[in-house]
């Protein structure tokens, strides 16, 4: 039987069971979606196919033969290719050089043959890759094409795509889906990892839902609805709508005028950005990852050097204030980076010490008083259902989602006047995500102005009052969240300016 079978796979890390007795069958010529919340064990499972982990017990059969995938090289020899969410490419090298990197080739490269082969594969699957272009000159979509080409060149016919759409615009996603369908037509087995329901319904042939390390069900796409899928993922019925609270819009809280900023190389990262946020308003920020979201948040928080322009908070200019002065004005920023720990938390410290971070300087004297904070820590653990052995456990030992709850919870608890939050639900499961949305709505009702940088366009449209779309450091539109379509947002995100949308009135 020509397919991939995982049988009774169990993998534990210390006391944590990442996968328990997983049975999975993937056929050649199908697109098999692995659906599950973060921490459900999707990545661990496929990493055992790609040779990064080896299972504690259980067997893997490929084309009817039992195999031991002890290293990525073995996986490659078996025709398994993994396309990681974060590209593994060398920026300063060309597409061609990246493709042959690590392969056993002769001392001299046969440039001509290589280019020809690459073009051949590109044409066959509709991948747009120029062999001699340097990676740093490529768009995100091109880089992803290159990653796919790389594994195909190495002879892969089992392709694993780990959350491939996270960094793409809707248009780029559509293009990727075409490529994936082409791969399937050519007889490849495609494993597609995601937690986005609509993508699954669009692209998958069969779907395996993982929950808490186990496959709860494998079904044909035609025989299930997205609501049923969501229930399988979470384990109980869910309400997938977010309500938009009516805030008490009461005057402008933050006004940004003609903001310009440059990065260390002197490249403009924020270009002439202007917008306002009213008290009691949620302004969403949409854009492809790396369009200037981080720089914008940091500029307001006083962490990123502003070249020109104005940032006025309740009638007072924030330019030239130190980060601490801005914190004491009542501005709270929580940017959840991809690794969650990059900014805002200290991995080796416990929850209490992490909660102190933003307020220890308000305590009197030379010493730190931890006792009052410990109470807050208990409250937070309770309120956000943070699973931790103890409030004095270093947060490094918590799962990513729980670490994030600590960060977002601290910022919400600081009773800010302006809350800047970027990707607050990144990697959180559905329940907690909705809890966070509720908390944001509660803040909004209190009259807090909120700048919400998000990834999920559906969430942005449902939660926010207005959405500001940025592309390459520029505002391409500020639209009414209730009236804009996803397609329109997509076009704006891609840099299109003349999009027929209802322009939102300024608050």
């Amino acid at each position: 039987m020509p397919n991939i079978v995982m049988e009774g796979i169990t993998k534990t890390f210390g006391k944590v069971v990442a996968n328990h007795n997983v049975n999975l069958e993937i056929k050649f010529g199908e697109i098999h979606a692995l659906l599950g919340e973060n921490g459900a064990g999707k990545s661990t499972l496929v990493n055992m196919l790609s040779g990064i982990y080896s299972p504690d017990s259980g067997s893997i059969y490929i084309r009817g033969k039992e195999v031991k995938i002890t290293s990525p090289r073995v996986a490659q020899e078996l025709g398994i290719g993994m396309i990681h969410q974060h590209f593994k490419l060398v920026e300063v090298m060309t597409a061609k050089e990246n493709i042959i990197l690590g392969l056993k080739t002769g001392f001299f490269l046969k440039q001509e043959n290589l280019s020809k082969e690459i073009k051949e594969i590109s044409a066959r699957y509709g991948l747009e890759v120029e062999p001699d272009k340097k990676v740093y000159e490529m768009s995100v979509g091109e880089k992803q094409n290159l990653e796919i080409l790389k594994v195909l060149y190495r002879g892969a016919d089992i392709l694993i795509l780990d959350e491939p759409t996270a960094v793409l615009t809707p248009q780029e996603t559509a293009r990727l889906f075409e490529i994936v369908r082409r791969l399937k037509e050519k007889g490849c087995a495609v494993v597609f990892i995601t937690h986005k329901m609509n993508e699954v319904m669009e692209i998958a042939d069969r779907i395996s839902v993982l929950r808490k390390g186990e496959v709860v069900k494998t079904v044909d796409k035609d025989k299930i609805t997205s609501k049923e899928l969501a229930e399988l993922m979470v384990g109980h019925p869910v309400d997938l709508s977010i309500k938009r609270e009516q805030g008490v819009r009461d005057g402008v809280c933050l006004e940004v005028k003609n903001l310009q900023a440059y990065n260390e190389e002197g490249v403009a990262v924020l270009k002439d950005i202007s917008f306002t946020i009213a008290k009691g308003e949620i302004l969403g920020v949409a854009g492809v990852a790396g369009s200037g979201q981080k720089e914008l948040c940091e500029a307001i928080a006083g962490l990123y050097p502003v070249h020109s322009g104005e940032i006025i908070f309740n009638g007072e200019s924030l330019i030239h204030m130190t980060p601490r002065e801005i914190i004491t004005k009542g501005i709270s920023m929580s940017f959840v980076p991809e690794d969650r720990l990059g900014m805002g938390l200290v991995a080796s410290m416990d929850i209490v010490d992490n909660l102190i971070l933003k307020e220890y300087h308000t305590q009197k004297g030379l010493f730190i008083k931890r006792r009052p904070i410990a109470e807050k820590a208990h409250e937070l653990v309770e309120k956000l259902d943070i699973s931790t052995p103890h409030i004095y456990t270093p947060i490094r030992q918590l799962s990513g989602g729980n670490i994030q709850k600590v960060l977002v919870g601290r910022e919400l608890a600081s009773q800010p006047k302006l809350l800047i939050t970027a990707y607050p639900v990144r990697g959180l499961d559905i329940n907690v995500s909705y809890r966070i949305y509720d908390l944001l709505n509660e803040e909004k009702k209190k009259g807090v102005a909120i700048l919400f940088v998000g990834e999920d366009l559906d969430v942005l449209r449902e939660l926010c009052d207005r959405i500001m779309v940025i592309c390459d450091g520029e505002v391409t539109g500020i639209v009414d969240a209730g009236k804009v379509s996803k397609e329109q947002l997509g076009l704006l995100m891609a840099g299109e300016r003349n999009v027929e949308t209802e322009v939102a009135h300024h608050a």
Binding site: F13, S59, L366
Partner: protein, 359 residues
């Protein structure tokens, strides 16, 4: 098939057990080497203990060796906590000694408490200011402090050599290149048979412990050490924190120079630091930058050194043998770090497969 697997968090007890096991293995391994020299390992080990603690004199010597090591370890652990790799203990000790000596030679007749206080402050200032140079470079231009602090050691030591052979050479030493001995008023008195440095040491252990764990500055240092981004985000003034922490770190090392010059050698020599600045890197690291552990680890290190020099004479083995023992203990203890993070397990799927085959 053996496989390396990541451990889940290791309990404090297991951690200590692993370390003790490592020391034990090191002793076992050295026993083989001692046997190869046709000596009785147990006798040698016993002599080692005797050499360090056997008589009141030897015990005193051990303490005197431990004092500079403990204080220096405390000093550099503050910088290490901030992940500022202060390899410049040697230089900071030297410059602290230099500054203290300046006052000892210049005002030999000041009343003892006043002169000692002056030397005390000068020692701290000398080491601290010397350390501020690499700290400023790091804060301002992000230079690599490992290289700069290391190189500045040699500058400091050569400066002392210059003084010893040049301007500060004792005219009454018949041409011998030495700096004059201190006046009595510049010599730290003994308390309980050992110079008063031991009291300062104990006080410092407590102070540094409190500073690192309970003060705001200590907290800022720890946050900054973990992530500069987070520190910036929390509104910590990064430059100021770097300068403060490194000044304290270097200042404490400088104090060692003052103590050594005043209480031990009663003068200044180019070799005043004697490698303590380097050994302290090891001890503070082994003690996981925790002051109470620094006290214990440094003391044991000093005992090993003192005992080692005794077995040289008692058994007529070369000094290299004692150093080898030190090296082995270090090797095993540092190597055991691996086992606090990983464990070696028998791969289970192998056994399962054989079960299947049996079926």
């Amino acid at each position: 098939m053996l496989r390396i697997a990541k451990r889940s968090e290791v309990s404090q007890v297991a951690r200590v057990a692993i370390r003790i096991g490592a020391v034990f293995l090191a002793l076992l391994f050295s026993a083989l080497l001692i046997r190869a020299l046709h000596l009785q390992p147990l006798k040698v080990y016993w002599a080692l203990i005797e050499g360090a603690f056997g008589t009141a004199y030897r015990f005193r010597e051990t303490v005197i060796k431990a004092i500079p090591l403990i204080i220096t370890s405390l000093g550099i652990s503050i910088a290490f906590k901030m992940q500022f790799w202060n390899i410049g203990g040697e230089g900071q000790i030297s410059m602290g000694a230099f500054a203290a000596t300046f006052f000892a030679l210049r005002y030999p007749d000041l009343p003892r408490p006043l002169l000692l206080l002056l030397m005390f402050v000068a020692g701290i200032a000398g080491g601290g200011l010397w350390a501020l140079i690499p700290a400023y470079f790091r804060a301002r231009w992000r230079t690599n402090e490992t290289i700069v602090t290391l190189m500045m050691n040699y500058i400091a030591i050569k400066w002392l050599t210059y003084l010893q052979y040049g301007p500060w050479k004792d005219p009454n030493a018949l041409g011998f290149p030495k700096i004059p001995n201190f006046s009595n008023n510049a010599i730290l008195p003994a308390v309980g048979g050992i110079h008063a440095g031991w009291i300062i040491t104990l006080v410092l252990v407590v102070l540094v412990h409190i500073f690192l764990n309970y003060s705001k500055k200590g907290y800022e240092i720890a946050v900054l050490g973990e992530s500069e981004n987070t520190a910036l985000y929390a509104g910590i003034n990064i430059k100021k924190t770097i300068l403060t922490a490194v000044f304290i770190s270097g200042g404490i090392c400088g104090l060692v120079g003052m103590l050594e010059a005043s209480a031990v050698s009663h003068t200044l020599t180019a070799g005043i630091a004697g490698g303590v600045g380097f050994t302290a890197i090891i001890t503070s690291w082994l003690a996981a930058l925790k002051p109470p552990l620094i006290l214990v680890v440094s003391f044991l290190f000093a005992a090993l050194e003192q005992g080692g020099s005794y077995i040289q004479t008692a058994f007529g083995i070369s000094g290299a043998a004692a150093e080898m023992l030190q090296g082995l203990i270090l090797f095993f203890v540092l190597g055991s770090e691996f086992f606090t993070r990983y464990k070696i397990v028998l791969a289970k799927n192998h056994t399962q497969r054989t079960e299947k085959e049996a079926n």
